[in-house]
Symmetry: C2
Subunit: 374 residues, 2 copies
């Protein structure tokens, strides 16, 4: 009884529209709705309501009668209307763009992060804008600032290593833009952090190798200025210590997260007496370097030397023997980061995602480890 009354009376009030509006004609004869051509005015006219009401429907305002809402929604669906993000953004004084800011982790890492973030952004009307930067260059923060302010970004995802820069985080907070930092430890309020728990992974590697029977171990870390390196290596050392094995400092080599530094580190470490029977390299690239050094020295893997890496890069399963390594569900991480940013956003176009669960790394066991000989 309600809807027809309203609808008809209003329709008469409206400016007399031709029987078929331009927009509708476009979709005639096509299975696909004509997308991107109609405006909120068309919707209002065709639905026999005001712009304002359509706007309320778009933004999920409670001040719309359910049947009105449904009618408008159905119409929007039918003519393939989607609000213009630019116009909306202009009025809202912000955009529907999320920035992904990073400086230099591996390609695999970046791409998976992107996939994950996009998983969460799909059908929300938000888009992902990539923004690599060089955190070593003077004034890079100013560049990010300009980016954020010009685009009026809705939010920013920071991934290592820039995520560790407190100055950058402070700058973002000053600008009152939401951000999420992905890092190995808590550097910020929980609502702005996503932890990768690298320390736990380091401990897991220690436990695994110790339980295989290894007693002479060695460690190749990343650069000490990387938080991740400290956590991974630190966890490994702590884990061994908990099991009664003290790793002496000359069993630790500071690498650079590069293949070459892995080679160099292994060459040094494998000359020690007694020779280590297992090496934990803090990323896969360095582990590949260990392979190279070991093979050149005539050592077989895992016969003479067990190796564990970190990252589970494609490389890990393509080495021979396949490398046991720490796997981190990066895509999940990206998804969660985006979800955190979107949390509390009222009118998402898709279904609201379930609250996220913690993401933790775990050891992916392959063929590069076995109990030591003898």
């Amino acid at each position: 009884m309600n809807s027809p009354r309203k609808a008809s009376s209003k329709a008469i009030k409206q400016t007399p529209a031709p029987a078929t509006a331009t927009v509708v004609q476009k979709s005639v004869g096509s299975a696909m709705p004509a997308v991107g051509k109609s405006t909120i005015n068309d919707v209002a006219r065709l639905a026999g309501v005001s712009k304002k009401t359509v706007s309320r429907v778009i933004n999920d305002s409670p001040l719309v009668r359910p049947d009105t809402r449904e009618r408008v929604q159905a119409l929007m669906q039918q003519i393939g209307y989607a609000p213009d993000p630019q116009a909306r953004g202009l009025a809202f004084r912000r955009s529907f763009l999320i920035g992904l800011v990073y400086d230099n982790p591996t390609a695999q890492y970046i791409v998976n992060m992107q996939y994950g973030a996009l998983d969460a952004l799909r059908n929300t009307g938000f888009e992902l804008v990539v923004h690599p930067c060089d955190s070593k260059s003077e004034g890079y923060i100013q560049g990010i600032r300009a980016f954020v302010q010009r685009q009026k970004l809705f939010g920013v995802i920071l991934i290592p290593r820039v995520s560790e820069d407190q100055d950058l985080a402070d700058a973002l907070r000053d600008m009152e833009v939401r951000y999420v930092r992905i890092a190995s430890i808590a550097l910020d309020e929980p609502s702005r952090m996503l932890q990768t728990h690298d320390r736990l992974a380091g401990v897991e590697v220690a436990n695994y190798l110790e339980s295989l029977g290894h007693r002479h171990l060695a460690l190749i870390t990343g650069p000490h200025r990387y938080r991740s390196s400290i956590e991974r290596g630190g966890g490994f050392i702590d884990g061994l210590a908990k099991r009664g094995i003290q790793l002496s400092t000359d069993c630790v080599y500071e690498g650079g997260y590069t293949f070459e530094s892995g080679v160099a580190g292994a060459e040094r470490l494998l000359q020690r007496t007694p020779r280590p029977t297992a090496i934990f390299a803090c990323n896969d690239e360095m582990a590949a370097g260990v392979y190279k050094a070991a093979l050149r020295m005539g050592l077989s893997i895992p016969g003479d030397l067990s190796v564990v890496g970190y990252d589970d890069s494609p490389l890990a399963s393509q080495l021979w023997p396949a490398l046991s390594t720490i796997h981190l569900p990066i895509r999940d991480l990206g998804r969660q980061a985006a979800q955190i940013l979107l949390a509390g956003e009222p009118a998402l176009r898709g279904p609201r995602p379930a609250p996220s669960m913690a993401v933790t790394p775990h050891l992916s066991v392959r063929d590069s480890c076995q109990p030591p000989k003898g």
Copy 2:
């Protein structure tokens, strides 16, 4: 004599502004100009000209007297004004976003393409929005269409394999959005294409291996539905033929661009008599598979078997021995793609890039090949 006259008379005409505008105050006492807060109205008021004139300056219109232009530009610089891309986009009925559409090449490829495109976009006011898609899913084109139309994209970069889809290209052309397709051969008008010349690279591999003395060769291709695979493999076969070597069909294995298919292919091919002394795998992953199969069979590389890959992925230099492979300057490719899209855009903020040069693949010789024994 001119400028002051104009300035003063106009200034009087304008709405009486307070001596210091809000915007200017913001930048006082800070080395950095306050960015993102001022509007075209502020600039107009402070410069004593109309909005429209400022707009003309922004857009490099020739209808502005040089001294007026300079005065306005200086002011914009001083107060750190940058036009709002959303407002501009709304008025222009298009955005300043470039879409990067891809479906599934390797992470390295995607990331380098992004870096390249961003190189060209830096300081132009344009941003890069990533949009992976699944070209195997029904109606994926509709998804890209919605993306393009909703965001009113300025242009789109298509990279393999979606770049090979003519239906998608047609759809984009229908929507009148600029695009550039990156593919191994010319699939479109030159102004919309960027070729990777995979065939030439295949020929180069053939020449190289033949010149080392190999006569018993084998080929592991990618899936035949990939244009790149056809070109790489075809070039190899043609190149050998030109040098008098006919590659019989059972020396060709159709792989899937995956590590496992490389293993399987090598296992098959290495059982032939006479055993091939060299294998060209159409990407590095498969080449890594060849390594695994060969090593398992007790063959040494390059002593018993020479291997060439394609892509120059990080993997290539991290295998042992390091893999000789085809290197393609993907970052350059990305840069050029973006430059092509931006070509003819009147008011870029940065300097106009030099016209681009052709990008060609070349063989990067490492340690995985040597003349055959005996």
